[in-house]
């Protein structure tokens, strides 16, 4: 993958890397909350927060959140595949889960890759960073505003 100029700012220097990490963790964060209107299924609110108005276009933000919602809907879908997985696992006393990845775990990996891709292509160039919801207990999607991109 081509290295964008902005990524070269993060060229190695241990102290600078730690400084960048500290800056990122202290930067302003915006938390997108869960949308419980359809029950306990994992969905996030697509309402565009005012704090991100100057940083990212509304459409891009909504597309990201809607895609994430789509992934979670796919993961939690109750249908033929989930029944099959459940029944098969039950007959093996769920021991099969020790060697098999569940559908939810496969979708979580897809989500992780998607978020990484979105960060690289869309959000990092705009000084934002999305955190995977699983790191927050699937309660929020956090958007960190990276205020300090200086090296050393």
């Amino acid at each position: 993958m081509s290295r964008r100029p902005i990524l070269r700012l993060f060229l190695p220097h241990a102290r600078c890397f730690l400084h960048w990490v500290r800056s990122a963790s202290l930067a302003t964060k915006v938390f997108i909350q869960r949308d419980y209107s359809e029950g306990t299924v994992c969905q996030f609110q697509t309402k565009f927060p005012a704090e991100l108005d100057s940083r990212i276009e509304r459409q891009l933000f909504e597309d990201t959140v809607k895609t994430l919602n789509g992934f979670y809907t796919e993961a939690e879908k109750i249908g033929g595949q989930s029944y099959l997985e459940g029944c098969l696992a039950c007959t093996t006393a769920y021991i099969i889960f020790l060697c098999m990845e569940t559908r939810y775990e496969k979708v979580l990996k897809k989500i992780s890759r998607y978020i990484q891709e979105q960060n690289e292509k869309i959000y990092a160039p705009r000084g934002l960073l999305i955190t995977d919801p699983i790191e927050r207990g699937m309660r929020v999607v956090s958007f960190s505003k990276l205020t300090d991109l200086k090296v050393g």
Binding site: R3, L7, F10, L11, P12, H13, A14, F17, L18, W20, V21, A24, S25, K29, V30, F31, R34, Y36, S37, E38, G39, T40, E76, K77, I78, S82, Y83, E85, G86, C87, C90, A93, Y94, I95, F97, E101, T102, R103, Y104, E105, L108, K109, S112, R113, Q116, N119, E120, A124, L129, T131, D132, I134, E135, R136, G137, M138, R139, V140, S142, S144
Partner: protein
């Protein structure tokens, strides 16, 4: 000048998790602190089954059918698997809010409350959401600093918020929640079957043997039978009753917690918004729904730096040194590595082609002992905020 490796003490995240859980097998097993009753459960099940295999099975295999002990063994292993799975798995614990998220929520609450005159109590921290045309109140948890999702509740014994909290079961030594409810249900169901099975064949064995040897002689030859019958008789009432109760809950898609609190009792036209109004659909959702992964990254690494400085010679040595001096990222970041701890994007893309370690914790099957209906259906001292 070569780079100096920094001594790093590796700790896993489970060692730093708040709450009153105990962890075993380096974070793979998660239970409550009080495990005495769980050991009793194990003892009762294993003890009774051992007596059955020792005293009844040899006679029944010869005089009736060898399938009897075979089926008993299969049922016994299934019961143990379900008990261990229930006891050892994460019930659906919600991680506590990190300081930034907690502060964000506080700011939102203060903005919503406005200026509270001094001396007056601030309004209760409640958020109303509409779920399927029903208003559901989300309560704020002062311990975890989050607004609890619908159906979640804080367990006072484990000191955690648990999703779809059912109850805290001392017999399995763990909470029963979203992630392990189906194992718990299958445990009570299979244990009911096992108890009925052993009880029935104890009676059959005594009757058959008494025909040839006499009743007293039979009891003298197989003293274990008396013990088994006693244990099974008392277990039957509690376990079968509990299975029946949980079957009712499954068909209505309710939790024990909701049933006890009367959340969806129909008062003021309040109905269960999570029910599909179809017992088959409810049953399928609870028992055959997706298997939710744990959101607690118990086995993630939290490497700590020592105080020695890092000397970097040139860019070529930087990458391996960076990996050893990173504060919280594993060498191959997995999906659950906190974003701040991952290496900069360029390195992450380099590592993206490497196989990622599975973030899931392999849970041992849980054995479940049927809790006595009184202790189990009690809300179990959970703090309800």
């Amino acid at each position: 000048m070569s780079a100096v490796m920094v001594a790093k003490k590796v700790t896993r995240k489970w060692e730093k998790l708040p709450g009153k859980n105990t962890f075993c097998c380096d974070g793979r097993v998660m239970m409550a602190r009080q495990k005495g009753v769980f050991y009793l459960t194990l003892f009762l099940i294993i003890g009774t089954c051992c007596l059955f295999f020792a005293f009844e099975c040899p006679y029944l295999a010869v005089h009736l059918s060898p399938a009897i002990p075979v089926f008993a063994i299969v049922l016994f292993f299934f019961v143990m698997a379900m008990l261990l799975r229930t006891s050892f798995s994460d019930p659906g614990v919600l991680p506590r809010a990190q300081p930034d998220e907690a502060m964000y929520i506080e700011m939102e609450i203060e903005a919503a409350n406005g200026n509270v005159p001094s001396g007056q109590r601030p309004p209760p921290r409640i958020r109303n959401v509409q779920i399927n045309n029903q208003i559901v109140k989300l309560k704020y948890c002062y311990t975890c600093k989050i607004f609890r999702p619908p159906r979640a509740s804080h367990c006072g014994i484990c000191d955690n918020c648990v999703e779809r909290f059912d109850h805290h079961c001392p017999w399995v030594g763990n909470c029963v929640g979203k992630r392990n409810y189906r194992y718990f249900y299958l445990f009570t169901l299979s244990l009911s079957l096992l108890t009925i099975y052993i009880f029935t064949f104890d009676i059959v064995h005594v009757v058959l043997r008494s025909v040839s040897d006499g009743f007293v002689q039979t009891l003298k030859e197989t003293p274990g039978t008396v013990l088994e019958v006693l244990v099974c008789f008392f277990t039957l009432w509690s376990v079968v009753g509990l299975t029946g109760f949980h079957t009712y809950l499954v068909l209505l898609n309710q939790t024990t917690n909701e049933d006890i609190k009367g959340s969806w009792s129909g008062k003021n036209r309040v109905q269960n918004p999570y029910s599909h109004r179809n017992i088959v659909k409810n049953c399928c959702e609870v028992l055959c729904g997706p298997v939710y992964p744990s959101v607690l990254d118990r086995r993630g690494l939290m490497a700590e730096l020592s105080s020695s400085p890092v000397m970097i010679s040139d860019a070529k040595n930087y990458i391996p040194d960076l990996q050893t001096t990173k504060t919280t990222a594993p060498l191959i970041p997995n999906e659950q590595t906190p974003e701040e701890a991952k290496p900069p994007l360029q390195y992450r893309t380099e590592e993206a082609t490497e196989p990622k370690q599975s973030p899931t914790v392999q849970e041992l099957p849980a054995v479940d002992i049927p809790p006595a209906s009184l202790t189990d259906t009690a809300p179990a001292k959970e703090q309800v905020f």
